[in-house]
C-alpha cells in the first residue's frame, strides 16, 4: 500500500482524536463487507455548530484517514460549511486513489446521514 504524507497526516489526526460516544443510542452505521469497511458516526450539534464527532471504524488506513479529513474539515464548523461538496473537494485535493472511492462513499453517506438526523 502506497500511503503518502498527506494521508498519513489525516490518519494521525483520526488516531489521536478523542471523543466519547454519546449516552443516547442515536448513531448511524454503514458497512460493506466486500470493501471491508464498517463505520459508525455520532455527532453533537450545538447552536448550529458541529461540536463533537465520535466515530467507530474498521477499515484500511485510507478509511481512517478519511475520518481524519472529516474531523479536520468539519469539527467546530457551522452547519452551512458542512456540505458534501466541501468534503468531495477536500478528497480531490488529497488525491484519494480511485480504488478507494467505494469506501469513501460509505463513510460519506454515514457521516451526512447522521448529520441530517442530528439536525432534525
Amino acid at each position: 500500500m502506497i500511503f503518502n504524507q498527506t494521508f498519513r497526516h489525516y490518519f494521525d489526526i483520526a488516531c489521536a482524536h478523542e471523543s466519547e460516544a454519546r449516552s443516547d443510542t442515536r448513531a448511524t452505521e454503514k458497512y460493506d463487507k466486500s470493501l471491508k469497511v464498517w463505520v459508525k458516526f455520532q455527532l453533537t450539534i450545538t447552536d448550529g455548530q458541529l461540536v463533537s464527532i465520535h466515530f467507530n471504524l474498521y477499515g484500511c488506513p485510507y478509511t481512517i484517514a478519511m475520518c481524519g479529513v472529516i474531523i479536520d474539515s468539519f469539527l467546530g464548523q457551522s452547519l452551512e460549511n458542512i456540505t458534501a461538496e466541501a468534503l468531495d473537494n477536500k478528497m480531490g485535493i488529497i488525491d484519494l486513489p480511485r480504488e478507494h472511492f467505494g469506501k469513501f462513499i460509505i463513510i460519506k453517506e454515514a457521516f451526512f446521514e447522521e448529520l441530517n438526523c442530528s439536525i432534525h
Binding site: C15, F55, N56, L57
Partner: protein, 385 residues
C-alpha cells in the same frame, strides 16, 4: 552491523545483504575479470570462468552435491516458471500436484498451464494429506511441487514421506525452498528432490539472482532461448552470482542449527507474542520455522496497523499479496475467515535482529493494536470473522 536494521521485521520478504557478501561482490566488481562476458573466449573471460567454476565447485563439495547441478536464475519466480512450465511443455499429458499453501507465484504460473492440476488439502497445522497425495500420484507422470518453509506462516513441510511417494510412483519432486536457507536445516533436501529453488535475497545475498538445483539426469526445455551457461541462456550476471554463492557459503559455514543468537531471539519473540492475550499465533502447534510468525489480532485491520507502527516494518500476509484486496489463500487454507485473515500480520526476524529491538517493536505493536481496537470497539463480531 547489528544496529543497522533495528526497525526491520520483514526478513521473510527480503533480507539485508550481509556485509561480507557485499565485500566479496565489491572485490569482484573492482577486478578486471568482472568486465568480461562469461561466454567470451579471451583471457579475461577464462579468468571469470575459472573464478565462478571454482566457487561453484566449492559449493558442490560443501553440500556434497553429486547428483545435482546449479542453474543460476533471476530468482525464485523464474525458477518456479522454469520447472512448472518446462514440465508442462515436456509432458503435455501429465499433471501437476501441489497444495493450497504455496507462494502466489505458483498459482499464477499454474493458471497459465493447460495440464491437470491437483491441490492437496491440508489441516490447520498446514500438514498436507499424504493419503490424498498418494491417490493422486497413481496416475503418472506427475510433478509434485511443494513449498518447504511457508512464506506466510512459517510452517515446515516435512517432505521425507512426500519424496518416498514420488519415487514409488515415478513422479518428480520440486521443492520451493525460497524461505528455507537461514531459517531451518536444508542440506537434507538434496536427498529428497529433483529440483530445488532458492533465492539469494532471502538468505542475505543480492536481489535478482537465485539457484535452481536440478538433478543432472533431469532435463526440461528452457524458457529463454540463446546460448546457455550453467543451464540458462543469457549473459551471466557474474557479480550477482558471486554474491549469491558467497551468501550460500556463509549459510553453509554458519548453519541455522548452530546460530544460538537467532534461536534466542526467536524464542523471545514467540514467548512475548504468546504472552499477549490479544494476539493469536497462527499454526502455533505446527512444526515451524520460528523466525516467521503469523499473528492475528481480531478487530484490528492489519494494513492500518502496518501504517500505524511506522517506522517498524512488518508485513501484511505475504509481501506479494500486500497490494491485493483479497485475503491470503494460505491463511484461508489453514481455516481463517476473511475477517481474521484481514487482521493478520507477519513478523519475520533474521540474523541481524536484536532482542532489545524486538522488545521495542512489540511495545509499539501492542500500543497501536490497542488504539485500533478502541477505534473499532463497536464493530460487530460477525463483521470481523
Amino acid at each position: 552491523m547489528n544496529e543497522l536494521y533495528p526497525y526491520y521485521f520483514d526478513y521473510a520478504a527480503s533480507t539485508p545483504m550481509d556485509p561480507l557478501v557485499l565485500d566479496e561482490m565489491t572485490v569482484f566488481l573492482e577486478s578486471p575479470e568482472s568486465v568480461a562476458n562469461f561466454s567470451s573466449s579471451h583471457s579475461l573471460a577464462y579468468a571469470v570462468q575459472s573464478t565462478l567454476n571454482e566457487k561453484v565447485q566449492l559449493i558442490q563439495n560443501k553440500l556434497d552435491l553429486d547428483a545435482h547441478e546449479l542453474i543460476f536464475t533471476s530468482g525464485a519466480t523464474e525458477s518456479l516458471n522454469y520447472v512448472l512450465r518446462g514440465f508442462s511443455n515436456k509432458y503435455p499429458n501429465a499433471k501437476i500436484i501441489t497444495s493450497n499453501l504455496e507462494h502466489s507465484v505458483t498459482y499464477k504460473v499454474l493458471d497459465q498451464i493447460p495440464l491437470n492440476k491437483v491441490f492437496i488439502s491440508n489441516n490447520s497445522n498446514a500438514e498436507i494429506d499424504l493419503n490424498e497425495l498418494e491417490a493422486s500420484l497413481k496416475v503418472a507422470p506427475s510433478l509434485v511441487s511443494l513449498i518447504h518453509v511457508n512464506n506466510e506462516i512459517g510452517t515446515i513441510n516435512e517432505l521425507d514421506e512426500v519424496s518416498y511417494l514420488c519415487r514409488k510412483y515415478d513422479a518428480k519432486l520440486h521443492i520451493d525452498a525460497s524461505q528455507t536457507l537461514g531459517k531451518t536445516r536444508f542440506d537434507h533436501l538434496f536427498q529428497l528432490a529433483d529440483y530445488i529453488t532458492v533465492s539469494a535475497h532471502k538468505f542475505y545475498g543480492p536481489k535478482g539472482v537465485g539457484i535452481l538445483f536440478k538433478k543432472k539426469d533431469e532435463s526440461l526445455p528452457s524458457l529463454i532461448i540463446g546460448s546457455e551457461q550453467f543451464g540458462r541462456a543469457g549473459t551471466l550476471p557474474t557479480h550477482q552470482i558471486v554474491g549469491c554463492l558467497k551468501s550460500l557459503s556463509l549459510i553453509i559455514e554458519n548453519p541455522y542449527e548452530k546460530n544460538s543468537d537467532m534461536h534466542k531471539a526467536e524464542q523471545h519473540l514467540e514467548n512475548e507474542i504468546l504472552a499477549c492475550n490479544a494476539f493469536i499465533l497462527n499454526a502455533k502447534n505446527a512444526n515451524r520455522a520460528r523466525s516467521i510468525l503469523s499473528i492475528t489480532i481480531p478487530g484490528v485491520h492489519a494494513q492500518s496497523l502496518q501504517q500505524m507502527i511506522t517506522p517498524y516494518i512488518v508485513s501484511v500476509g505475504s509481501a506479494c499479496n500486500s497490494l491485493s484486496a483479497e485475503p491470503s489463500r494460505v491463511l484461508k487454507a489453514i481455516g481463517l475467515g476473511d475477517g481474521l485473515a484481514n487482521s493478520t500480520i507477519r513478523i519475520s526476524i533474521g540474523r541481524f535482529t536484536k532482542i532489545k529491538d524486538i522488545d521495542l517493536m512489540l511495545e509499539k505493536l501492542i500500543h497501536c493494536s490497542n488504539m485500533l481496537k478502541k477505534i473499532s470497539s463497536d464493530v460487530p463480531d460477525w463483521f470481523l470473522k
